[in-house]
Amino acid sequence: MSQIAVQNVSKAWGATRAVDNVSFEAAAASLLVLLGPSGCGKSTTLRLIAGLEQVSSGRISIGGADVTALPPAQRRIAMVFQSYALFPHLTVAENILFGLRVRKVPAAERTRRLARVAALLGLDALLARKPSQLSGGQQQRVALGRAIIAETPVCLMDEPLSNLDAQLRAEMRREIRTLQQKLGITMVYVTHDQSEAMSMADRVILMRDGKVEQAAAPDEIYARPATIFAAKFIGTPPMNILDTGGGVLLGVRPEDAALGDAGLPVRVQSSEFLGADTVVTCAYGNQSLTARVPGKAAYRAGDAVHAGWRPEHLHFFDAASGVRRDDVDANAATAIGLCFA
């Protein structure tokens, strides 16, 4: 049984369709990531699931029950906001307990649950503090605590890590994923950061202009991007898209491209050493092509080299619509000298 089902949901404000006929499902106890560039309708979709906005059309069900018309409190969800939305005048303990007090949970039960959540998130020493006396990471934990103490089956998160520095972000990413799996929560997680999506998600919904561009597991969306947009959005640096004529665009990931003596003749423009590997940017005619080569590559700007790849690493897209084409024969590409083994 799918825990959350979004069916043909649209949300319009006047002429803008922030969410346009979106459908997807999140399996129980899984982590679903809504991914996409800023303004593509991720937050709106999440808020529709939460009930903070009303759908213009479509249906939303949680745990098999239609919740489309229910207020947020009756949807049995918890939510973590990008700004954390902590109550500034309440202590950490009171912030976490807020919902339990609203629902008049008995004091003994409250104490027990608070102790458990505080231990789980390492907040024991901070319970008497006010939010302003906490670091960003600690505030994030309090917001997380407030969400999980409710013990609701569904937790919604809107870019919860975007206010943290890179290192803390990586740490919290793992922590949230571990927590989600340990507690068996169904989580919908919004982010614009593809690496966050790839590392955390069971399933990624890639959105663009209010529509679903591709819905797939992270490995599949990486291996078989459905459109040029998906191909370029996932992976760093993004996939190279080359126009070789004939109405078909050719895609190859920088990590699948090698520089050597055979393949496309290209000219090195710049190279960026990243430690484990080097990203070399080359020019192919007036198109740009990047290759990720292991170690520290000794290329200099202006060097003439050849870029090549194995046929199975090639992706083909329709030049007009940008949609993936699996009917193109990679061997044909080999035949015209675009591949080398």
Binding site: A50, A73, M79, F87, P88, A150
Partner: protein
């Protein structure tokens, strides 16, 4: 040696002798404000306290030191006590009513309602009118026979009192004017404070199932406390300070029913020219206000969350 070291060395050379020390510099900056405050606030206050221990100079008879005579006369003066009790009733009604109305209006116009700018403006309008003008408008409302109130109630067949001429209603009428005048002004402060409260707090509470009243009680109201303190102090000061409407509408009557403390001071000083007695009354008023201000900052301040 000509390196960066030499440059560093020149940078820490002690300041030249002619430079004014920071202390004197600071005092010079404070001077204009201190002179103005001393001349127009501190000196008159001290002079008033001194005057209250002297008699009123009359003609060629200079003021003589009379000790606490003025204070004894004051304690024996029934009109003084009437003014004090009037002022207590007036303040105890105007302050909570004004603040409650201000908060209610702010909460209302902060919400998503049609015609919001128009509502905000109309609530604020009484504030920009001078009290004299407000008093004149209300004089018409209260006028016996042809006044707005009498016309409306008369149409319904309700018998009406002589609003400002009746001892039992006159003070209430003044209270209504004061509330009407100040609520819009205080609303602006509440509105500004409400707009600082992130809407996500309300959403977070809504997800937890908090009712709007619960959210107001546990979140909005505590977050508004600094504003409430500020408004409270101003409301108290206004309830002792603003008497234009008394002058315009009732002249303290009927039978001192609307005599407020400051109005009585004004009468004593500028109608009866008993300046020493006016000074004595002023000292009482000053002491009262100082007491309130101190109490608020000392007692309430500790229990307020400032962001």
């Amino acid at each position: 040696m000509h390196g960066p070291e030499t440059k560093l060395a020149t940078a820490v050379v002690p300041p030249p002798r002619w430079r004014v020390s920071p202390q004197i510099h600071g005092w010079l900056l404070l001077l204009p404000a201190s002179v103005l405050l001393a001349t127009f606030t501190h000196f008159p206050a001290v002079a008033t306290i001194i005057d209250s221990f002297y008699s009123t100079p009359k003609g060629r008879r200079a003021a003589v030191l009379v000790g606490a005579d003025n204070y004894q006369a004051m304690l024996a003066d029934p009109v003084f006590w009437r003014a004090v009790s009037n002022n207590i009733v007036y303040a105890a009604s105007v302050i909570p009513l004004t603040m409650a109305l201000a908060l209610a209006m702010a909460l209302w116009v902060n919400g998503r309602i049609p015609g919001r700018p128009f509502l905000r403006l109309s609530f604020f309008t009484p504030t920009v009118l001078p009290m004299i003008a407000v008093a004149n408008i209300w004089l018409f409302f209260y006028a016996p026979g042809y006044g707005l109130l009498d016309q409306m109630l008369g149409a319904l067949g309700v018998p009406t009192p002589n609003w400002l001429g009746d001892q039992h209603t006159a003070l209430i009428c003044l209270i209504a004017v004061a509330v009407w005048k100040d609520a819009g002004f205080f609303m602006i402060f509440y509105l500004a404070a409400l707009q600082q409260v992130s809407p996500q707090l309300a959403e977070a509470a809504a997800i937890e199932g908090a009712s709007r009243w619960y959210f107001f009680r546990r979140v909005t109201f505590p977050l508004l406390m600094p504003t409430t303190l500020f408004v409270l102090i101003n409301a108290i000061i206004n309830s002792f300070r603003l008497i234009d409407h008394v002058v315009v509408m009732t002249q303290g009557g009927p039978d001192n029913a609307t005599a407020l403390l400051l109005f009585y001071i004004y009468e004593a000083g500028f109608k009866f020219w008993d300046t020493a007695y006016a000074a004595t009354l002023t000292v009482v008023l000053l002491a009262l206000l100082a007491f309130f201000a101190l109490g608020q900052f000392v007692v309430l301040d500790r229990r307020i969350h400032y962001q």
